[in-house]
C-alpha cells in the first residue's frame, strides 16, 4: 500500500529528476525520527540545493511547479499528498554539506535521502532554539553516533564549544 509519505517522497524524487532541484535531504523532526523513538512533529522539513542559494526567492519556481500539480501552499508550507512539506534552501555551508552527504534510505521501496545523524546534531547546535536543545540531548542519548565524524563536523563549523556546553547540561542531569 502506498501511503502519503511514500507519495510525497515520489514527488520529491521527481523534482530532482526534472531538474527543479539539484538534490534534497529530509531534516528537522522527521529526519530525527529516523534515528530515535518517534516524536511529535507536524511537518516534513526538506532541505534543498537549487544551484542558486543566493537567489532571494529560490522557492518561487518550485512552488509554481507544485501548484500546477495541484498541491496548495499554505503559509510557509506546501501540502503534498496530505503531508505538510516545508522546503528550505540549504543557505549555509553546514546545510549544504548535510544535503550533499545525506544517506540514501529505502522507504517502502521508494528511495529517499535523510541527513546523517551527525549533521542533524550539528544543525541543532547551530540553530540553537530550546526545541533544538531538547532534541539534541535526546538524539545523543538514543541514536548510534559516529563520534569521530561528529567531532570533525563540529570542528569544521566551529560548533565544538557549544557542543561541550550543551553536553555538560546533559551530564549534570
Amino acid at each position: 500500500m502506498v501511503d502519503g509519505m511514500q507519495k510525497t517522497l515520489l514527488v520529491l524524487n521527481d523534482l530532482k529528476k526534472k531538474g527543479m532541484i539539484i538534490d534534497y535531504a529530509i531534516g528537522g523532526g522527521m529526519g530525527i525520527v529516523f534515528y530515535i523513538e518517534p516524536i511529535l512533529t507536524y511537518d516534513l522539513d526538506v532541505f534543498i540545493l537549487t544551484g542558486n542559494e543566493t537567489n532571494l526567492q529560490p522557492l518561487t519556481a518550485l512552488y509554481q511547479y507544485l501548484k500546477k500539480l495541484g498541491y496548495q501552499p499554505k503559509q510557509e508550507q506546501i501540502v503534498i499528498e496530505g503531508i505538510p512539506v516545508q522546503f528550505l534552501p540549504a543557505f549555509n555551508g553546514l546545510l549544504n554539506e548535510a544535503v550533499r552527504e545525506a544517506r540514501r534510505i529505502n522507504y517502502q521501496g521508494t528511495e529517499a535521502r535523510v541527513m546523517t545523524v551527525e549533521h542533524l546534531l550539528a544543525i541543532m547546535l547551530q540553530t540553537g532554539r530550546t526545541k533544538d536543545r531538547e532534541r539534541f540531548l535526546k538524539v545523543l542519548d538514543e541514536a548510534e553516533i559516529d563520534r569521530p565524524k561528529l567531532s570533525r563536523i563540529l570542528k569544521r563549523f566551529e560548533l565544538l564549544e557549544k557542543y561541550r556546553k550543551w553536553k555538560r547540561s546533559q551530564d549534570e542531569k
Binding site: 501511503d3 530515535i36 523513538e37 507536524y42 496548495q72 508550507q77 522507504y107 535523510v114 538514543e142
Partner: protein
C-alpha cells in the same frame, strides 16, 4: 516473619532503566513504522487540542472545505481579543 525493606530508590532506578531500554528499542523500529506512529501522535494532539479548546502550534489542519489552515497556539474557540 521479618518484612524485607523495599528501597523506593532502587525501584525507581529500575523503572527508569527499563523505560530507557524501551526508548532505544523504539529507536530501532523501521522508519515507515515510526512515520505511522508520528501520524498517530499528530491525530492524538489534534484530539487533545480539541478537548483543551486549543490548536497545537504548527499543526496544519484540513478543514471540511478541503482547504488547509495552520493552527495557532492558545487560539481557543471562545477567545476574544484583549481590550487592554
Amino acid at each position: 516473619m521479618k518484612n524485607k525493606a523495599v528501597d523506593p530508590g532502587t525501584i525507581l532506578a529500575t523503572q527508569l532503566r527499563a523505560k530507557n531500554d524501551w526508548r532505544r528499542r523504539q529507536a530501532k523500529l523501521p522508519f515507515a513504522r515510526k512515520v505511522e506512529i508520528v501520524i498517530r501522535l499528530q491525530k492524538l494532539a489534534v484530539e487533545i487540542g480539541a478537548v483543551m479548546g486549543r490548536k497545537p502550534a504548527g499543526m496544519v489542519w484540513r478543514l471540511p472545505s478541503g482547504k488547509y489552515q495552520k493552527g495557532l497556539l492558545r487560539q481557543t474557540r471562545n477567545s476574544k481579543p484583549s481590550t487592554r
